[in-house]
Symmetry: D2
């Protein structure tokens, strides 16, 4: 079992995470983590903060000579601006944010004490943890990627692109969209929304390739792999919907069109020619790629602020305006990769044991042999 | 904290659940649970099994004179047909089911040993646990309902119905759909699919009314209430997507159209006039109704079976045909109510403590007073 | 990971347990479980209840043709006397019991609603779960035994007995004590206490043989195997102290006398000639036998009742007298075996993975080879 | 629910902890934490390391203007010497340490990669977390103290000292022992052991005063407060036994002498005149002081090293000699206070809810009123 906790506020000193339960013998470089932190900062439509901060992780426990020892890994990313104690009081609650519910729940008088932790700045911690988990998964040939499939009504067409082209095209797009025409239209849409002081949401897709059959289980509700992945992805700030494979389109399809027929040949073993299931059947991975779509609502901080209320005076007021983005769907995809990696790493460790990488690989190899001989 | 585990196979002796952590002082009647078990069995498009079984719960621990004592509640529902040891071997894996991944994961030679537990029969346990949790929530004025919004391409129009009419109309529809025109079309669609040996999926909506502000939290990823609810709803067999409020439609909307502006008056306190957020902002309940939509894929057992493989011989074969439903979306809604109730009960107990109902109510009252005076 | 919950009251209908997470492919017989239930009922000094009840388990889920499938195992033991709703109110709190704190915590007016669940009758559920876990451990050559080392001031001398003789002698003693002289004195002491309307406690020892090196971990506090075992053993009703190996005697010993020197030869690999550590160093098993001692306080229900208070009137009163034992240390040892087995089974599953017994054994074998070649 | 994870190696950069779930509104000063870190470093018999390091905590998340906001609290204590990557290989396993089992479990070639995390240096993280929890408990009038009752065969007599004198005397003793005669003898014993290159263990006692009735529960094994406290205390490095109240002495006492009779008067409500139970009955606190004794084995690193084996060559060798203490029982008591505080804080938050200190206090006050009127 792996577990992790994160700490840190948007304008606090440091964003932190402790990741417990990684096997020994895994090489980790700070540059690998920094690469994902960099990818998280990109994206057309991001605000100014992104320009002033080049997040760099420090691994302050868990490694010796850059290799894990089985002990907990502490990750720290310093904030450039750590003025949390000096920043002014915020009283005008922003619709769509934690602001109002937060002050009521935690009995606070200043919305700032809410927004500092509710901020998606927290995802630097998760992206860092996810990068470590991706390094583990890579040892088993498991790759995770994301790309943007919709922003502000513009939808990408990416059906016939394979995994590799999808990834390489998405990585080069300013909005992480693998359809170059759509990519351009999305940027235009973002420009338009920026001008209007408005914001945009969208849909990103997560793909995990190389996952073995049999992660997760149908035997108890909380062991189902789609449920666990959904827990993780829905926990990303501003995500409001998660689906697998054909997702909500299945509502209008018949069973004969949806379910992925099963084939077998000696070389490949069992296989499918379609993947409407998104790589999951009966709470378990099928061995096909896991495909998740997630919708992100438009950023809740608007430069043309919505109508709201001052929490102290109760007077009508315009919502507080914080430094913010117009659209963060590309970044959310990178965060999605991270949380997907964490859940899959956990499922791998649970199934294959995990005190050392060598032990885990040996157990994994034994299982692959076993299922070949079924 | 409440926890529960379920046990039982489709043709085993008994479906069971142990629910740990309910406060003392709550009256529970078997008839309340049986009512939800009955609602779970209904629905146009269900198979024959539903006719032979009238599920009745037995509460075999946790109550004294029909009142909880704080001790764990054991629930048992006997299966009429408990022939699990005698039923024949199943070798032809059904696409869309746990069949193939299950035998590989658990090293089994007979698909029956998978399908017996992977079956949605398991949901009788969860519906029973959920009925107990609903009884707790009712003490705080929290109501949970479900209705069907789409089956096989037919979509219901229910936007202007209030909660009460929605519920009463849905309860009278054979497909639990509050739009009577759509209800008729859905039944026709089911008839058509039945004739073709095919199956249907759809979308159900869950609504919780009367939930206080401040359940869940943004402070750590796994405390977010939408993430926890998503974990629970996605764990229902055949659910492939979950969304909150305006859900996937938010991808095409601008922030100014999505976020629910905040108002205040002396009587009502803070309030909204829209609820695109589906009752959740920043990982916490807002006090508005929680609205969840979930898509269920078409039933994976088809009377006109799909192409598959015999797991022993590896020869091409038609998928196994088990007694099954054509469409189970209405029932899935009832299961959805149950898991939503369990998560909300847990969140209430976590926030308000929970050794006795009286203590919990006193703490709850104190909080309501506190937030009025913010 | 395995988990379990238990339910049931002393005079309720049924004592229950659901055990989640056992691997597939393990043969389980009800007779194996019944054997431990029988051992739990024995012991000189037990009350009348023990004579009227011959506990028999029913396995109502989780097995097909007596073999596990990976699905949860539900265990049920019916109570002969299930008069919980009709039994009279209890008002005079017994010192040493849950009575007084229980009614305050759970806001109850009748002590019976506390004692029904607080009763050690609950341990039939745990002994049943433990018997399943012992069956798993036996597949890996791990054996668990208990014997009584002290009752009412009489202390047994068992130092030079090996595991096998210790077990066979303990099993034949009426107080499960392997020192026959002490065994006789303990019975006499129990007779004396019985005459005086008094009760006795004592110390039992738990031994696990054949445990591999490396279960548990020092990397995070809650992963330490001695801490987990202590959690489990201290959770047995009336246990007030737990120690490992030389235990509290270490307070008076110097390091040079305590720590078990390390040796190596080609055949045996690393080994020790002493085991003051009780099989655990640095939060992990060493491969030597795990040895735990636990003290049980005297039974809290006295036939010559202690002074107490009527919780309704607040008047001075003699404590309630329920049907009870004079001494239950031998039975507590059997319960100790069960909870030790559960924790060790969990640690084995965590380290070696655990979807099927075959997979687990293969992984285990690979690890044994690995550590031989260190 | 509160949770925490710790990270850090003995010669790594920083010892860390993230504490999740503390209510908002609690004032925390670094000096409060530093005071306990200082107390942890003291004690006659400590090695040189203690002199070069004056541990200072940095609170790098979770506070705004020194007050909690409900968000996770990250604590960091820098190591003066962070040479982990440069320190030489260790090959001679120390009996009594994690050394040998650790290299086998984690597939390591260098014992240093084990001992860096297995070291009790980790307890600086726990002491820091505990100091925060003590600050929470203090708001409810709950105080936690420790004192040493035995070192190397010397036993203290402290029976008639009240809590306050016990604490003040222990705080002034070089070995944290409240019996000044014994204190002197303990120091002499330590001198003697030092001369011989040997080490000593002992027994410390933990006391919590002001705990309300009803924390913990008998309803499920893992909710029992003595089991949870035992889990926490047994997880302290080198602790090998834990007992409550009269502990192992109960083995020789009769029930009539052990159980604490119950009294009542209008002013005090229910009360006891003895506390053999150590403040816990039936898995719950009774309202009397919680009293725990724990035995610590002698330090496993001896200056006159024990016989061992070189893990690479398998040749007989003297155990590795690291910088170490002769006796650390006084420090272990301070660590014990910390883990006790964490568990009690968790139990308080679970029972009384815990989003804000004000809410928690209101709920607590309501409960105190309720149980007065029983």
């Amino acid at each position: 079992m792996i577990r992790y906790l994160t700490g840190g506020e948007s304008h606090g000193r440091t964003m932190t995470a402790i990741l417990d339960g990684m096997p020994s013998g895994l090489s980790i470089k700070e540059s690998t983590i920094n690469n994902d932190l960099y990818r998280r900062m990109l994206g057309y439509g991001r605000g100014k903060r992104m320009k002033i901060e080049a997040d760099k992780v420090q691994i302050i426990s868990g490694l010796r000579r850059s290799v894990t020892m089985g002990s907990p890994i502490t990750l720290a990313i310093n904030n450039v601006d750590h003025s949390i104690d000096r920043l002014p009081v915020v009283l005008n609650a922003r619709p769509g944010h934690a602001d109002l519910s937060g002050v009521m729940k935690y009995d606070l008088k200043d919305i700032r004490s809410v927004l500092e932790r509710a901020s998606a700045r927290e995802t630097v911690s998760r992206v860092s943890v996810g990068a470590v988990c991706k390094a583990l998964l890579a040892e088993f040939g498991i790759e995770i990627a994301s790309h943007v499939v919709a922003i502000g009504g513009v939808e990408a067409q990416t059906k016939d692109l394979g995994f590799d082209r999808l990834v390489s095209k998405a990585e080069r797009s300013p909005v992480r969209c693998a359809d170059s025409d759509a990519s351009g239209l999305m940027c235009a849409e973002i420009d338009d929304a920026t001008e209007e002081g408005d914001t945009l949401g969208g849909v990103f897709e997560l793909i995990a390739r190389g996952v073995p059959v049999g992660l997760g289980s149908y035997t108890q509700w909380d062991r189902r792999i789609e449920a666990r992945l959904s827990y993780a992805v829905m926990s990303i700030q501003a995500v409001r919907g998660v689906s697998f494979g054909a997702g909500f389109e299945m509502a209008g399809m018949r069973g004969s069109m949806v379910h992925d027929e099963i084939f077998h040949d000696k070389k490949r073993g069992f296989y499918r020619t379609t993947n409407n299931a998104g790589g999951i059947e009966g709470g378990m991975t099928t061995g096909e790629a896991i495909v998740i779509q997630a919708v992100m609502k438009p950023i809740a901080t608007l430069m043309s602020p919505l109508s709201s209320v001052n929490i102290r005076t109760k007077a009508k007021a315009l919502a507080n305006v914080e430094r913010s983005d117009v659209c963060a769907v590309p970044a959310a995809g990178v965060v999605g990769e991270a949380v997907m990696a964490i859940e899959l790493a956990n499922a791998m460790i649970e199934k294959f044991g995990g005190d050392s990488l060598r032990e885990m690989k040996r157990n994994y190899g034994g299982y692959l042999d076993q299922i070949k001989k079924i």
